[in-house]
Assembly symmetry: C2
Homo-oligomer: 484 residues x 2
């Protein structure tokens, strides 16, 4: 996994080729790679360490809002998928099918779950009998498979990891409250942990989840001006409860169909973090989720190797004791410059260099990955400086991402301006929309921009607003963008 040459592999610049930059950054920073299995990736230890931090931060929030984890079967009998018409129409084309098991052909083929509504609803139907059994507030961390023709590491792979919440409620109001609560959990989590300022809003009918009555989303803007759907929360209404017979005896002693929600985020968030924060030197990871927060690198001089190693070991031990994810790079087959580039590529938020002069003076050199700002500080202040800088970097990265998003959110006044803006600047385009699928699909056909959402903030139509494409009276202001 090491490179014996003097410099780490180079990555293309973002301006040159954003897509190549993205893939090569991920591969060369050891986050993930393609495999011989078409469309399936390996998440390497460095990438999985990042995912573990992301997962744990979200898992805590999911539990703090009253949910519990459970585990449901991977395989979904075809007959179950067929029970909700829109759902099967949406997912059957991307299913991977198991047709043989234990040396024999199966009587009924089984889909590898593309999402788990069907299998989970078939089980919930047995669990729910009385209003006292509600709400059911369950989440699952799992792998899912959706057969993809074109794949891209983290963003679109045939197998990916995710969490899927599946809840059941007594009333529509309760379900809707849950849907919005979890969307807000996602928004806050993205902002706090991944420094991604995502825009919450509602999807149009055309972009809804297959089988949902309403879908909400958090939409993020990548550095190439493309949007990324970072998480979704669905109000399933009674679509699945009617299909699967999830009924309960209510307080008033009448039998009713339950109200349901589902919500999920996936490993594509890792791709979102890469494209939100990375630069031409590679990753820049938000400190709160970075697998390594501080990398310590000795500048060796003959005779001083063990003194430097000892000093570094002491600092690493001290930082670790304080809960900082610190690591030393003591390899003797690479020069410091090589190591600097490699850990920059890996996006470690802080680098500490210690050389012979530092030993003498009792100092260290500390370098921020985000701004490359460099400072010499007394050895005794390392711990407090690291604590402070990690918080600062996290805040500054969010600030920078928010500034980029705001600078790239446009409000074209005419259809021509819409097209020019999209062509020349990309980004988010916030425009009045007449609420019809016709206008939405005309915009998509002519520009490849899709309706990302009607944002909670700024999505209301003002008096006199007319649809950017059709000129008809607008019912909302919608956010359009080309999207991953």
């Amino acid at each position: 996994m090491e490179n014996p040459s003097q410099k780490p592999d180079q990555i293309p610049s973002r301006a040159e080729n954003f897509s190549e930059w993205y893939i090569e950054t991920i591969r060369k920073s050891d986050l993930a790679d393609y495999t011989v299995v078409k469309g399936c990736m390996v998440i390497k230890p460095y990438g999985f360490g990042l995912w573990e931090n992301v997962r744990d931060a979200l898992d805590k929030r999911i539990k703090d809002t009253g949910h519990e984890n459970a585990y449901f079967p991977l395989l979904v009998p075809e007959s179950l998928l067929l029970k909700e018409a829109e759902h099967v129409e949406g997912f059957a084309p991307e299913c991977a099918w198991v047709t043989h098991g234990g040396g024999a052909e199966l009587e009924e083929r089984l889909a590898i779950r593309p999402t788990s509504e069907a299998i989970i609803c078939s089980i919930y139907a047995n669990w729910v009998k009385s209003y006292r059994d509600l709400p059911i507030l369950i989440n699952q961390w799992a792998n899912v498979v959706r057969w993809e023709k074109r794949t891209r590491l983290f963003l679109r792979t045939s197998e990916f990891l995710w969490q899927e919440g599946h809840t059941v409620h007594r009333t529509d109001e309760e379900a809707q409250e849950e849907v919005l609560k979890m969307l807000e959990v996602y928004r806050e989590f993205l902002e706090t942990e991944l420094a991604i300022p995502a825009i919450p809003g509602q999807k149009s009918d055309a972009e809804k989840f297959a089988g949902a009555s309403k879908t909400y989303t958090v939409e993020a803007l990548m550095q190439d001006g493309w949007a990324l759907q970072a998480g979704t929360s669905h109000n399933l209404g009674q679509h699945f409860s009617k299909g699967f017979g999830i009924k309960f005896l209510d307080v008033d002693n009448t039998e009713k169909f339950a109200w349901q929600t589902s919500w999920g985020v996936s490993t594509r968030l890792i791709g979102g973090a890469v494209m939100t924060h990375g630069d031409d030197s590679g990753l820049r990871l938000p400190p709160r989720v970075a697998p390594v927060q501080v990398i310590l690198i000795p500048i060796y001089k003959a005779g001083l190797e063990s003194a430097l190693n000892e000093k570094i070991a002491a600092i690493v031990a001290d930082l670790k004791k304080r809960g900082v994810r610190a690591k030393a790079d003591l390899r003797d087959n690479h020069r410091p410059g090589y190591k600097f580039s490699e850990w920059e590529l890996k996006g470690v938020p802080l680098r500490i260099e210690i050389g012979p002069k530092d030993l003498e003076k009792g100092t260290v050199c500390i370098v921020r990955r985000d701004t490359r700002e460099k400072a010499f500080i007394p050895e005794g202040t390392v711990a407090e400086t690291v604590d402070r800088l990690l918080v600062e970097i996290q805040a500054d990265m969010l600030k920078a991402a928010r500034a980029f998003r705001d600078a790239n959110t446009h409000r074209p006044g005419t259809w021509d301006e819409f097209k020019t803006t999209l062509e020349e600047k990309k980004g988010f385009l916030l425009c009045p929309w007449d609420g019809t699928a016709e206008s939405e699909s005309a915009i998509k056909d002519e520009t490849k921009a899709t309706l990302r959402c009607i944002p909670f903030d700024g999505g209301k139509a003002e008096p006199g607003d007319v649809d950017i494409r059709t000129g008809k009276p607008a019912v909302a202001r919608a956010l359009f963008a080309r999207a991953y």
Copy 2:
């Protein structure tokens, strides 16, 4: 999920029908249940909470011994499985095969991983070039599928959850050291966390993992006298590195095949904990992994409901602050007796009852699940008493399990005694063995007892030892039992 009647569902006694007791205990305590998908279970929130504690405790040990987690593809092309002859022979018959994806038939069918050696080795072959790339110390938490005709919750299901470590080393010695290190991690983890005193040892050639050069195991004894293989650690030698071309340039500048190991434990550990500790009232969970360690139940009296609820809320909050997993059962549609039975069934280590008299006297009643011992203690000593009792219960459960195991480990002197002992007492039978597959399979055919392992402790043949079945000179003393 509640039962409106006055008593929770009954379970059969262990003596009556151990197998039924096992299944009904798991279903009625809400650990898990069967689903419409043949052979696949749903792990319910209570069972998954238990698994999360087990998983986290083991994950910490896996990381503390220098391993990192990663994630490899679910799907394994058939051509990869074929690269190691014994491996494919062992696993192909139990594979589930994906033959269609994205609406089309696949050119090559894909197995859902029954274990990941094949897919991981195909990837390691690209990662390993120099001795500097070694060792690779990686673990994966994942789901696997092995098609099973007869299934039993947790013990044998077509899909199960597990961790699988896959390591690559420069030398045979290093690999062997890793294999034994991880076996010891399992043994210590089982003893410390699950209070299961497992016996470490080596498998015979007949019981080896398909493709391994040596397999080691930790074997536990269940209350019905049957053995359970609780975890295995394999020295894979160069079998896979030769099949998959995992080669490296060594220090001496020659190219060599690497040495590998793999090791795993699975959700069957939950079944092992149930069968080691449960009694006729249901589960008895070891405090260290119990999802709920203390359940608080009010004995309501008209007019005192809110005073009791407040008192209980204060104690729960205090216990939680100290890291104790405490929970209150304030349901108003069940009597205290019903709740007592239900939480006994769920195996919660400690129960605290608070009634009107306790309010008056400033006391609570605390009851151990393992011994049913009951004590009235001053309210102010609850926290310290809980801390102390949880440690005591954990230790006492291990002590009881070890005493049971020792009492049920027999040393028959003759073949007739072997058969009688197995028939009448079951348990472990430690006997001299001549080291041949012939003797081993004759024993199995005649008694259904399999060779569980040659234990590290007590597995050496003494002078004059002769095989229990053939009378030929013995090479070891082996542990036999009927096994799950």
